[in-house]
């Protein structure tokens, strides 16, 4: 079965005209997707081989930019692999993809500095 990629349920997303804003509650990162990157988000759930086809024939540099944007969505775990059905993405006009990653507020999220989760569960105490 072909692997299908879906939006990570831990990420809150909202679409405004051509821009998608993503906020990851657990990591403190947030994102702005525009152009082909926003189109990729709109195409979810999608299988990877269908991604490039949704923009029609593209010159090599544009293909690379789409692959790079898709790679960023995967790298930041904004999309996750799933077993569910995919949808064939509608054809859309290509606009250069933009993935803006904001990490300036991540420090607001304070994880416990003393304990870490171990194999035995919680808590496994470490010397501070």
């Amino acid at each position: 079965m072909q692997q299908v990629w879906v939006a990570n349920p831990a990420v809150t997303a909202d679409r405004f005209d051509g821009e998608v804003v993503l906020i990851c509650i657990s990591t403190g990162l947030y994102f702005s997707l525009r152009g082909a990157a926003a189109a990729l988000w709109a195409a979810l759930p999608v299988s990877e081989p269908d991604i490039l086809g949704m923009f029609g024939d593209l010159p090599e540099s544009d293909r690379i930019s789409v692959q790079s944007a898709w790679g960023q969505l995967k790298e930041h775990e904004l999309v996750v692999a799933s077993d569910g059905p995919s949808q064939e993405p509608a054809k859309v006009a290509f606009e250069a993809p933009v993935v803006e990653v904001y990490s300036d507020l991540a420090e607001l999220i304070t994880l416990d500095p003393v304990h870490e989760v171990g194999a035995k569960g919680w808590p496994e105490k470490h010397d501070p």
Partner: protein, 327 residues
């Protein structure tokens, strides 16, 4: 994400027992009762520790309606010792599967905040007043108020207001200085850092403005309460006008610049969400999805502008004064 619902439920039970113990400790020896505003809501504070209540209430506004109940207890605090059943436990945050019980244990200050939605009661259990960081004084019961509002149509926001304008932006964006300068010029404010919003109206929650030393000096303020690297003042002590509520007609995103004159540009709702959503959701933990849904509705409902602040405070107040009348 809840990893083991059964074990997670056992933690609910343990936290409810902790809550019952806290209530019992307070009710056995009530030394303080007072009513305060929590944005559009209000609450009754009940404490067994008068000194703690005296420390934590000066920056709250008085209320007449009793509203929900918050218990304040000071004494040896049971540490967090639960099975790891949720990724949120890394933050020492526990939210029951039905989201009606919310609790957080602050390791640094050894302090529990617990909110029980069904009974409309919450508990702040502090180990000792000496361990309490100063921000607790200027924004007391912040988590509990946030959780109490989460199940209503209101939301606690990391934002300020100047009359009918909501100012959004992360720390250091110029919100506090702008609010203080405008309030000194006679405009009303519901707050510079934390406000409540419901149905496109802003409500004050905390009677405090925090400024760094240079900004406080620039505005002619005296010595305030030291909170981290800032000094805190009460709006009402400074003679500033704090309305009961203010209709929001626009969102302003201030940006510090060294320009001679302020400049204003319309921006998209997406830009406003980026300014308001993450800083609220990452600061006020638990029930973030509810907060973000309310923020998304807000940024779609009113026009949004980016305001590049000039170094001239008179120009800043004139610009805000013009904007409040024209949007």
């Amino acid at each position: 994400m809840i990893l083991d619902p059964e074990a997670h439920g056992r933690t609910d039970t343990a936290i409810r027992a902790l809550l019952a113990l806290g209530y019992e400790q307070v009710e056995d020896k009530i030394a303080w009762q007072s009513c305060h505003k929590a944005g559009p809501a209000s609450f009754t504070l009940v404490s067994s520790h008068e000194a703690a209540a005296r420390l934590l209430t000066p920056y709250l506004f008085p209320a007449t309606a009793p509203g929900f109940t918050l218990y304040l207890h000071v004494g040896p605090v049971p540490a967090w010792d639960f099975a790891h059943t949720s990724d949120r436990h890394l933050e020492r945050l526990h939210v029951s599967e039905d989201e009606l019980l919310t609790a957080q244990y602050d390791v640094g200050t050894r302090c529990w905040s617990i909110w029980e939605e069904e009974s409309q009661r919450g508990l702040l259990w502090i180990h000792s007043l000496e361990d309490l960081p100063a921000w607790h004084q200027t924004a007391p019961f912040r988590n509990l108020i946030h959780w109490a509002l989460a199940h209503t149509s209101a939301v606690l926001l990391h934002a300020g207001t100047v009359d009918n304008l909501l100012l959004a932006g992360k720390g250091g964006s110029g919100k506090s200085t702008t609010v203080a300068a405008c309030a000194l010029a006679g405009m009303g404010t519901c707050g510079d850092d934390m406000i409540a919003v419901e149905d496109l109206h802003a409500y004050p929650v905390f009677n405090s403005v925090k400024l760094d030393a240079s900004q406080a000096q620039r505005l002619g303020f005296g010595i305030g309460l030291q909170v981290s690297e800032k000094a805190a003042y009460r709006y009402t002590d400074l003679g500033m006008r704090v309305p009961l509520l203010a209709e929001i007609t626009a969102i302003i995103i201030p940006i510090v610049s060294n320009a001679d004159r302020c400049s204003v540009e319309p921006v998209s709702a997406a830009v406003a969400l980026l300014a308001l959503g993450p800083s609220t959701a990452f600061l006020l933990r638990g029930h973030e999805q509810q907060s973000l849904e309310k923020i998304k509705a807000l940024v779609r409902a009113v026009p949004c502008y980016e305001l590049k602040l000039s170094h001239d405070l008179k120009d800043v107040t004139d610009t805000l004064s013009f904007l409040k009348d024209s949007v």
